[in-house]
Symmetry: C2
Subunit: 765 residues, 2 copies
Amino acid sequence: MDRENNFRNDNMDEGDIEDGESLGGKVPLLVKRVNTTSQIAVVGSNVCPIESLDYEIVENELFKQDWRARTKVQILQYVLLKWALALLIGVSTGLVGFFNNIAVENIAGFKLLITSNLMANKKYFQAFAAYAGCNVCLAVIAGALCAFIAPAAAGSGIPEVKAYLNGIDAYPMLAPSTLFVKIFGSVFGVSAGFVVGKEGPMVHTGACIASLLGQGGSRKYHLTWKWLRYFKNDRDRRDLITCGAAAGVAAAFRAPVGGVLFALEEAASWWRSSLLWRTFFTTAIVAIVLRGCIEYCEDEKCGLFGQGGLIMYDVSSALVKYSGWDVLAALFLGVIGGILGSLYNFLIDKCLRFYSIINGRGPYLKVLIVMTLSFLTSCCSFGLPWIVGCIACPDNLSESCPTVGGSGNYKSFQCQPGYYNDLASLFLNTNDDAIRNLLSTSTTNEFRITSLFIFFCAVFSLGIITYGIAIPSGLFIPVILAGSCYGRLVGTLLESLSRLDSGLFALLGAAAFLGGTMRMTVSLCVILLELTNDLLLLPLVMIVLLISKTVADNFNRGVYDMIVKIKGLPFLEAYAETYMRHLVAGDVVTGPLIMFSGIEKVGTIIHALQTTSHNGFPVIDEPPLTDSAELCGIVLRSHLLVLLKGKYFSPERVLAREETMRRYALLDFAKPGSGKGIKLEDLDITDEEMDMYLDLHPITNASPYTVVETMSLAKAAILFRQLGLRHMCVVPKSQGRPPIVGILTRHDFMPEHVLGLYPHLKSRK
Amino acid sequence: MDRENNFRNDNMDEGDIEDGESLGGKVPLLVKRVNTTSQIAVVGSNVCPIESLDYEIVENELFKQDWRARTKVQILQYVLLKWALALLIGVSTGLVGFFNNIAVENIAGFKLLITSNLMANKKYFQAFAAYAGCNVCLAVIAGALCAFIAPAAAGSGIPEVKAYLNGIDAYPMLAPSTLFVKIFGSVFGVSAGFVVGKEGPMVHTGACIASLLGQGGSRKYHLTWKWLRYFKNDRDRRDLITCGAAAGVAAAFRAPVGGVLFALEEAASWWRSSLLWRTFFTTAIVAIVLRGCIEYCEDEKCGLFGQGGLIMYDVSSALVKYSGWDVLAALFLGVIGGILGSLYNFLIDKCLRFYSIINGRGPYLKVLIVMTLSFLTSCCSFGLPWIVGCIACPDNLSESCPTVGGSGNYKSFQCQPGYYNDLASLFLNTNDDAIRNLLSTSTTNEFRITSLFIFFCAVFSLGIITYGIAIPSGLFIPVILAGSCYGRLVGTLLESLSRLDSGLFALLGAAAFLGGTMRMTVSLCVILLELTNDLLLLPLVMIVLLISKTVADNFNRGVYDMIVKIKGLPFLEAYAETYMRHLVAGDVVTGPLIMFSGIEKVGTIIHALQTTSHNGFPVIDEPPLTDSAELCGIVLRSHLLVLLKGKYFSPERVLAREETMRRYALLDFAKPGSGKGIKLEDLDITDEEMDMYLDLHPITNASPYTVVETMSLAKAAILFRQLGLRHMCVVPKSQGRPPIVGILTRHDFMPEHVLGLYPHLKSRK
């Protein structure tokens, strides 16, 4: 929370009072602050400046010219390119997802094989050394990648993607280095046996791939593609990244429909029908790529990659037939799941705040923490199974007991032949296999209550303390792991009362936990449906999800919303806060407003760009150009920089529309890749040029969205949010005043800002 | 198309030039037309006036007072009531859906049983008489219900629901009588053997139930519920009706997730996250109710209601394993399916226009057409199977051949024992059973190519000519029927090339046809998934849907969009048309603008209400109340009528804010049920009162959304559509002019209106 308050203070410093006169412009620089850009936020484990995105179409004269000249062929090319990019995103995300799975299965499988071989020879100490050693080494690689190369790759990544799709960009969030570390960091992190998932990172990976493709590659790494310059605007990129996020979920869970719904329900802030269709196409491609890869890997072509590779928990063999009692049991499961889920969120929040202090102390400490936690996890995984004794293998099994080789339900561990250790079957497996064991049906007495309880406590705590360290760490798997263990525990306890299989109980438990932490409904439901291939359980899963979400919503917010808040990202909610109905738009306009005249002196512009970090400046036309002062529109900093760089100035205050339109094309003003573009320092303006004039009309967005100062703040907020704006003009109600009162940006709608100005409204919150 | 032009002319008549002076008000009635209300549209097969809905929160002083006084308990009650209503909608729609199924299964089953018994005794003529007689009788009941009681119940109903959710209300659309006829008309129509479905009608039924519950019952039928007065606004009703539409799909297909997605992708124009959740809850309830009912009906408790009751085509027994060739075959299927689907739409369009002429000639002719078509359908169903010969029953069947009793794959018809008639198995069955037969797997040679071809041609034509007659008729089933037949035909033809089962081909064919006509993607995919319980085919279904939609989109629009257009409903698209970028908001403002002063003479208001049908009037404050004329806000006709009825007038031009606020509560201005509310004729104003004054401030929405007249029309359209407005104020750019230029309504953004004003832009379309 400190950071958020900090950045408000930073702004205040920027708002130095300008002396309009000294600049000699005809239009005085009014002493009002407008919009500020450079806020900071924590991305991954790094602090970096954030920038708002602009989804408004800048309808300036260049745009209109370009629009008129656009041919049918160009439009078709543009549409085809969109689909081609969706295809590319689908293929690459699918391949990356598959690579991730193969790598994890092979690395972790090899590690577990060594351990179990040593255990079989009763070399317990060596086994532990090998197990913990492998884990620590893998963890250090993941941690070092993350700490030294791309700190933004730490954590789940879903909050970052969510923030981007809400209109907040922070440069390294979707950078190529982040993509690299996210892929490899996730592989090593998951292989190291941490209680983390690869699902969140896959979503982030999908978004990074989409961003990279949409920017036409990376100029830094000399990978550019000329065609893609048409995508140099925030709207198209947002669409691509939505597709990327959906593709990530689809690749992680092999759930194409679930991926689309995830993008719709959780990730995206804006949505439209055509996007639904394109997202759907992307995830269909992912599904096909994955299917192809899996078919290729049949017959053990891909090393230890087996069934477990792409999780698919088939519970359809269980008889699904439930009575009123089972529904009651599900309700109970949902209520407790909701409470535990919100507790999980609460603890994650505390833990993240603690880690954010430590992570600020440098990369070496980050790696040290990763090492420590890896060792702790190894101790838990290897030590706890000793507490419980061995159980005799059940009769009539289709699979061998104890398990031979990699994954399986019956790990021998320290037991003599014919016996197995149920806790080791959960701990000494990959997370995916542990979940499969918990969800396995028709194996009612396989896990003892004590073992389930110990495992639940361990993964619940480990999941919480692992999130926040410097490795890519998804939240889905820890939550599903804890949830399914909890569900199976309840199922085993209620065995005498309910007809449902304990594997199905485990599924409902996972649903309850997911609902309690992530607060999604439809998308989780479809993901679980696609994971388990069981439609008949659907109504029960729906009810459990709804109950647990409702219960948990009474305590705190969803885990991703919470993380967005901790990271200090100014997320705009879709609804207006209650207290906003008591205010009007004019109430929250603060700071000095800097305006330009339609034909402005170069010096004035340069000064304004130097002394503020505003991104949009209102342009005013005044007599003699018009009868009275009127708002011409808004001009963007980036467009001004392009115009200044072109140096087409005139010594007199004259219109230079035609000439400007001839010299520039719309593409010159296209938005460059995130973190790139012309900088103010790149300009080289002579003193002579400083006194010349620049006609801003051709680049002024003549149709900015405006609200009257007496408009209710709630309505203004809804307008701002629904249309995805970056700047909104506030105009005066009565005549005879300057034609603009101020500009509202994202930050002006943030609760911290509004309640900071009007603290007495806090009680109405 | 004639109708649309008609209603534009109607408006022009309404816009009689008012002589402002003669009314004696201080504010002149400017000679500019504003917003008109009474348009007409074809709803069902009836012509009726339409009204726009208003999703904006009317932030007048009464609202603010009410908002301030709102307690936490009241808010909680409101939230709980929303959920309770969702529950009620779910339960009632589920029960209605189940009743519908039981009724159809029993009536149609009984009819088919009589026919097959007579056939078995070689009484062919009697069999035909019984079959055709039953059909015609049932058809006449359905047609008479529809023609005489509720013409609005004819057709699918999905276009009407779609239009309502886009903000267009036409009174009988969701009236109780429509609900009644929709339920029973659908039962009789489907039982009569028409090639129509009960899915569209179920969606309409769900929406009607939601509307009825949301309006607090029907005052006409003395079914009111006091509590529900809190829902007397368009926003809450829209949400309820969205839930109702989703519940309808969920009940029709037993597809709860598909229902939510249908509501999201096809039905709703506005969406928000909390609605997703509530819709999901409603469909979960529907699923549970249906499950309970089906369990109750086990062991033949419900007459002839059997497996076929709630369609569920389980193809999961087929081995799903496909190679590149199969994918190619699927692509081919998709392309041809898309072409045939768009042809279907084209013919439906022609057919509907033809019927709309006949249907205008009175109810008796409507019933006659229904009779004729019913007889024609009977002739086809009974006659065509004679063309093809009998086939010997295959060996090793698990079911009996020929089929004994109701539904089954092997109808004996005219054949001798041990033989069956494959075409009769398709024709002399309910539509649901015919689809199940077509989708049945591992029955490759069951249907001959000739039979499939005849059946395809018959259902393709019958489906088209049946839609538009005066019975509730869904489009899903005809399309699925034709599509699955087409798929199976292709599957049988490609048998030597493809490894896929012909049942799976039938499924893909259904997907291709659905994609080609309805142009939905994700929701259809999930509905098919939930119908067939086969996840492994998902990627192939997705690809087929995408291809067929893409192909068909090149020819015409989706069938529902097309019907909305034929019906003359002014549907607002989510995107702005290209030519709108060449215009500004001021360009489309037409007609006389009637404004009121903040404190207005009663006579002026009455006159304005009498002579126009406008629904919103701008209110202007002028000196001495303010320094210069300024826009105070917008006042609604319905609110004016309430205030006039209250007769709190003052003889002088004075503010009467406090007194008005004391005398009225916000609820007095709540929107009454559709088609109700105070009428102008109900008012009884004396001549003396006509000269008195009324303070409009307390009921004026002081925060109307405004655009500057130079705002690009495209941007204004997006603002209008995104925020779900009914009125948008256009304000002047320069100072010193009246504070409002005009008001834009839904009709001003219609292509017909804009292109009527600027015909030269047609080429840019």
